[in-house]
Symmetry: C2
Subunit: 244 residues, 2 copies
């Protein structure tokens, strides 16, 4: 009971951080950076932080902890499997549209793509996420892999899931840092810490806190779905047995 | 046996990545950025990336996985506890000297400190690391806490350890990205991807790979020190029983 209560307190913290991060990145892009458009201008770029943070961080992180919610621990795992896969697909679509926003903005402004370390880390995170989704759907949702292989691959899926979240946080932090140096060059500059800089830095701190809470929820063995414990490695894919 | 072999392969990868990261950051600072000094010039700044990467990332990551090395699994845990604490203390000292290098460089050049998101994340990582070291030594090394409290706090220590590594990686990536934008402004610029940019970006990729391998080693339950399993939460601090 104490474990369930402490889980829900952590989960409430996660949801609160999700809302704070979403509000911060939206206010930054809409109020401080002038809003949104899809016309090759700086307003098109503004979709990039909002979509990447919403997709590759918030939807992704919330999708990752889904199986830890005790409410999902009933006999029928299928709806939660579908919700997990669905949330992750939505996260992937948001991320891809977020990448399209910046690629298109760069192309229309004759700016090279994929030269900065931020872009290398961000593109690696998205590519690994796409691979992880295809691999996850093929192995854990469809009846392609035998249960023994699924049991063997699950720790790899969980580790890679955490790794992609880490890459996502690193891409967010380097991206916010880079953007603040770009746009706050003079009167006031970044080093004067004007309101926009405090907002951007606070967004970064909230993102890190979100990542830490997700990792805490994933790493707490008391909060694992009972059938996911190492001594009970029985997995059944979607089309093999629906009453799993 | 297969588990031990796969551990040592991962550990070899970790050690190889450690060497590659150290070589890259040293070559960057010494060859591309002109070498080292402690005179308030840009050469003093060059200590910052080398010391932070060596301390807060490489020594820290290698210290974190120490208990996973099967060689350390003998009855007497004491020497390994001391080595773990010693490596972490060395990592902390490197990090603090690395921070002194950049603070002193900024002060002598009338540049404000601690305004960028990179600096906020970096200082948070170092402060949390210092707290973690003091807390870890007090709880797990000295006989201050009863075994039940130690058992309760160990997962928190492990999670916070992983979290600090994540912060460290995010600080490294944002710092490298920022530095490359600062120094590669014209002829050639960062977007032309000159050799220095490729080296810096590759350093970032190697750092991420290092972080992923550390997290993989820490998260693999087959590689945990046998007495660290949840069903056997018996901890004895340094001064309570030396033959632990």
């Amino acid at each position: 009971m104490a474990s369930v209560l402490s889980f829900y307190l952590s989960y409430l913290l996660l949801l609160s951080l999700s809302v704070c991060v979403l509000v911060c990145v939206s206010v930054w892009s809409s109020y401080w950076r002038g809003g949104f458009a899809w016309d090759g201008s700086a307003l098109q770029f503004n979709w990039h932080p909002v979509l990447m943070v919403s997709g590759l961080l918030l939807l992704y992180g919330n999708g990752a902890v889904l199986y830890r919610v005790p409410l999902t621990w009933g006999q029928n795992k299928l709806p939660w499997k579908l919700l997990h896969a669905g949330l992750m697909l939505l996260a992937l679509i948001f991320s891809i549209v977020g990448l399209c926003a910046v690629f298109d903005f760069h192309n229309k402004n004759k700016t090279p793509n994929l030269y900065s370390l931020h872009s290398w880390i961000g593109i690696a995170a998205t590519a690994l996420f796409a691979l992880q989704w295809v691999f996850g759907a093929g192995v854990f949702l469809l009846p392609c892999a035998p249960p023994s292989l699924r049991g063997l691959l699950k720790p790899l899926h969980v580790w890679m899931g955490g790794g992609i979240l880490g890459l996502s946080v690193a891409a967010c932090i380097s991206g916010i840092n880079e953007k603040l140096f770009f746009v706050l060059k003079a009167g006031p500059s970044y080093s004067d810490l004007p309101s926009e800089a405090v907002l951007g830095n606070s967004l970064g701190v909230l993102i890190v806190a979100f990542g830490l809470v997700v990792m805490r929820i994933l790493s707490n063995q008391n909060w694992q779905r009972p059938d996911s414990r190492p001594e009970d490695l029985v997995y059944t894919p979607l089309l093999q047995e629906e009453n799993e």
